[in-house]
Symmetry: D2
Subunit: 355 residues, 4 copies
Amino acid sequence: MDKIPCAVLGCTGLVGQYFVKLLLNHPFFEIKLLTASEKSAKRKFGESVKWMLSEDIPKELMEMVIEVTSVENILDSGVKVVFSALPSSIASDIEKNLMKNGVFVFSNSSSNRMDEIVPILIPEINPDHIKLAEAQKKKFGGFIITNSNCTTSGLVLALKPLLDFGIKKIFMNSYQSVSGAGRRGLPSMDILGNAIPFIKDEEEKVERETRKILGILKENSIENLEVEMFVNCCRIPTKIGHLESVLVELERDFTLEEIFERFKSFKGEPQNLNLPTAPESPLIVRIEEDRPQPEIDSEAGFPERAKGMAISIGRIRKKGKYLSFFLLVNNLIRGSAGGSILNAEFAYFKRIIGG
Amino acid sequence: MDKIPCAVLGCTGLVGQYFVKLLLNHPFFEIKLLTASEKSAKRKFGESVKWMLSEDIPKELMEMVIEVTSVENILDSGVKVVFSALPSSIASDIEKNLMKNGVFVFSNSSSNRMDEIVPILIPEINPDHIKLAEAQKKKFGGFIITNSNCTTSGLVLALKPLLDFGIKKIFMNSYQSVSGAGRRGLPSMDILGNAIPFIKDEEEKVERETRKILGILKENSIENLEVEMFVNCCRIPTKIGHLESVLVELERDFTLEEIFERFKSFKGEPQNLNLPTAPESPLIVRIEEDRPQPEIDSEAGFPERAKGMAISIGRIRKKGKYLSFFLLVNNLIRGSAGGSILNAEFAYFKRIIGG
Amino acid sequence: MDKIPCAVLGCTGLVGQYFVKLLLNHPFFEIKLLTASEKSAKRKFGESVKWMLSEDIPKELMEMVIEVTSVENILDSGVKVVFSALPSSIASDIEKNLMKNGVFVFSNSSSNRMDEIVPILIPEINPDHIKLAEAQKKKFGGFIITNSNCTTSGLVLALKPLLDFGIKKIFMNSYQSVSGAGRRGLPSMDILGNAIPFIKDEEEKVERETRKILGILKENSIENLEVEMFVNCCRIPTKIGHLESVLVELERDFTLEEIFERFKSFKGEPQNLNLPTAPESPLIVRIEEDRPQPEIDSEAGFPERAKGMAISIGRIRKKGKYLSFFLLVNNLIRGSAGGSILNAEFAYFKRIIGG
Amino acid sequence: MDKIPCAVLGCTGLVGQYFVKLLLNHPFFEIKLLTASEKSAKRKFGESVKWMLSEDIPKELMEMVIEVTSVENILDSGVKVVFSALPSSIASDIEKNLMKNGVFVFSNSSSNRMDEIVPILIPEINPDHIKLAEAQKKKFGGFIITNSNCTTSGLVLALKPLLDFGIKKIFMNSYQSVSGAGRRGLPSMDILGNAIPFIKDEEEKVERETRKILGILKENSIENLEVEMFVNCCRIPTKIGHLESVLVELERDFTLEEIFERFKSFKGEPQNLNLPTAPESPLIVRIEEDRPQPEIDSEAGFPERAKGMAISIGRIRKKGKYLSFFLLVNNLIRGSAGGSILNAEFAYFKRIIGG
């Protein structure tokens, strides 16, 4: 089987680097094009990127010359599948333009997420939302599929198995790592030994994306889940992995045994289809009294290729109709690059890209 | 005026060191006795203590020989006022024994807090609870007055001005600094770059202490405040200052202006009496979008002697009948040593100690 | 006595903020002008600055409107004394231009330090180098006096009392805090839990500045100290305070007692003149086995106004003709803003500014 | 081939955990016995250990019951090969006793390292020192082979290829991670945002072990390398990986090209024998201006099983006859457990254990 040539847009940032790392030796995709802003482009990847990861990158990729991110350059390359780690400020236009020119865009950018023709796809949760992409493809030739905000991704995966119990209210407080702000996003003077109880636009994103992702596909649009949400986001001096304290008021009574069982046995389409980046168990239940922890659980996920794709859940407790727990999501893998790659694998399997 | 001689029990630990620091040049009290466990005792304070604070301690104190913590040693010294930073495991017996021997104990230990004859005193909130101590004194000669758990102290100070609105439910998530675990409590390997979503017994303490502190004195006992509480405590790699994300469901409708006004104008007995350690404003409202922060706001409190005694409150928001905000409390000053010293000053003013 | 009106150039950065803080209630100087880049200017200081310090700034200063940094604006203001925290890229031209227009510039910028007519003044070490400024004044009307690089300042203060022994070789390894890179200089992703063994141009600066500062004034130029230097600079995740491991090969034999005595008794002109920002003892010798430490010793210096102006020295050891020790310098106070203010106080006393 | 049954002594500490992790699926060895102190023993490994690593341990190991560390228990088990992560205080007696009872001890403890019959083996450097073990075996039936102190191991590996140039003086300053102090060794209050310029006995260990490891085997004893050493050790808030700034005065002149070539091409017996834990290149030269860094380079080593076994060297510079560079060593793998396992593999290949 020939691999599908693909591009990574915004390859020098943190999410871009994770795209590159996770696409190495990918069974379906092969990087043929790397793009970045004018400042970084026209140089070899190995010279331009400030590589943050411990893995060594193969020589041929290190020597690939980065192109300037532009619709023209991407179309010229002939690549049909692109992974976008573009900053929000420029992502919206470029991605839409690509879509209208027949390109399949898997985007980590927040710019187009709330567009009603664009799905926020998490195939364990809302595999049918991919129909929005099919509709785009029919109309425009290409499509945009987004993954959710990193904080949202952990939350909705944990909420999905609880939907049957009727979710009345969601209270969430986050303990977010600095990598969520990007490679240069957060000065060390601000966060060293400190906590910052404010992340611009984050709480709003979590609320609206949660409602959309857990919403129901009606014709060609999503009917949002109706639920009251109280979200507070805070940055702490951890490097990778967002910890979230979740409290959910459920309509139906429940036992902790039921909840444990739901979490543990939870599987979705990626597991059924055995997608390469799908973790065997998307939700890993920790019974230790003090888990999950960013430094220990960020790499959760089995097998090897799915490391960082599983959510760890611990301290599961019940108080009347309230269920509370802590969860940990790898914001750079499940919450960003890995999420988009899983979406592309799912699209590939659904035959809306490739072949 | 002669100063009242006092003792610091458990003087080598972190809270003990803060007692020593805050009692230096105190207008009412003077340290005459320092005690510690057998391991640290019998040596000069300056040689035995692993001094963690930047201030230099006066030579006469550095050379004071530490005595072993024992009821006998304390009674022998003739000191009538003691500040206790004893570990919970031994505090209960020693403090009760002292109380029965006519000593006035201001304790930071959690052991006796829930004893029904012992008040958890925060004089801005429940000055009348000091009557429990008067009752003890009448019966036993001495008394025990406790300050609250460090996390609780910030929470209840912020809740007090909200009582009029009727508090139905309290949701609190903490971001607690490592100093809360004591000087050697938390290994660096556990917390460096990490977050630990579990602090033994902390959530229970916050819940029950909150109900007692905000409770009503009836005859000689406290009728707890009835309120549903959902508390989740998490340790993060900050050094001093506990950040708390608070969400309160109120019975009565409110405007943000009202709340701002209540917080800003809040004062209590310590302010009226102009106690030395009382901050001019116990609650400081921050209007910046990203405050309070441990590294910036832990020393809040005016004047100089009240540094670390004020609670900083920020990100005050409203969603229907829910009020949310972040607060910061200095866990070692307002939440521990400073809280106890304020209690002693209040007791002194009420003439139940001294003269 | 009327205070001398002064300006702080580059007032929103970290060093600029320290200038503002340290000039509050200064007995000689009074801030009349604040300048910053176009991005920050034209707004009130309180709204434009991202204030990093815990002190509250008086209302009148918070409401002072920041002007754009330009020679014209500064000359228009009529202010004769300026403290410059300008970035190196623009400092050289502006400062020289001001000097030629009769302004007295006390600069923290590195741009002009190696100019042969400009002294790097540390009045405890080379008070006579101020004659270079007098020569500038005679020729141009104004002058530039620089303080040294932050890392250098600690090193040379510790070396000064050793000059009599004959310094043959200096080996220095630094453990530098992130604040040395400025407010936004170092992304948290780079340094959290990490160490970076490279600081651009730092090693070169330390070597050449050390030779100049310890050099001898000959006519109107400095004859550098001749000494072999081996300097390695490394960034570590501390916030304030540069730790330095120093090893010196001395020509003359010595005893540790002599060295202790030299360090402890070391005083210079600022101490003799009792300058407001001068620490009683510029070198504080620590005898504990594990000091100095950034978190404990960065505020060293007595009295209150001289906090952060003293160097702490510890672990003093001897191996043959080699003397080794660790030192700690507050890079933002003695190493930056405080150093320049001490220089201005010294110039004031020498009557080359003011009256 | 049957695997050799082995024991891990002190299995619950940090080094013990690394022994367990690195021995999983080892081609030569298989864990048959786990021991710990009375406090941790008699319980299943999975319940007793505070597991710090992200890998999941196989169920059969998690359920293995830990025995109390005692000579009797170990002899009773019939295991002949033990890996010792015992604390120094008890290691000396137990290890010697085991050796005299025919057991082959690979020890990470410092207690017996300087014993003249015990080699500090690093098979890339001093493979012939294993003859000391053979002599022990002949005399006592068993033997003790130690690996070096973690800081020493990085230093001597980098020095070995320089021996030909004649090493006159060694200047080393370390930037050591907190894991070097063991799991509970360093309280977070001491090191968070701080640096501590003192590690008990470390400087002495590095000096004497370096001389012994680089010494020459004469009959049945080691003649130490004669070299002047100036070592300063400092703890910084990194988690894993010791950074070292090394300056060496060489007798013979050299070019940087020579040095690069020596470092890059350096190989030893483990590489020739293709031992499982041997890294292809023990010394990895980094040409980036700011490497090595603990957070990026601690896992250096290829292939997979040798991760953490290679030393990264960067910033290689020359000043006259002085060569300077920074190196990074994984203190828990090459510097502890991995070093001992490599020694056991080497002993196995030399047929002094097994068969």
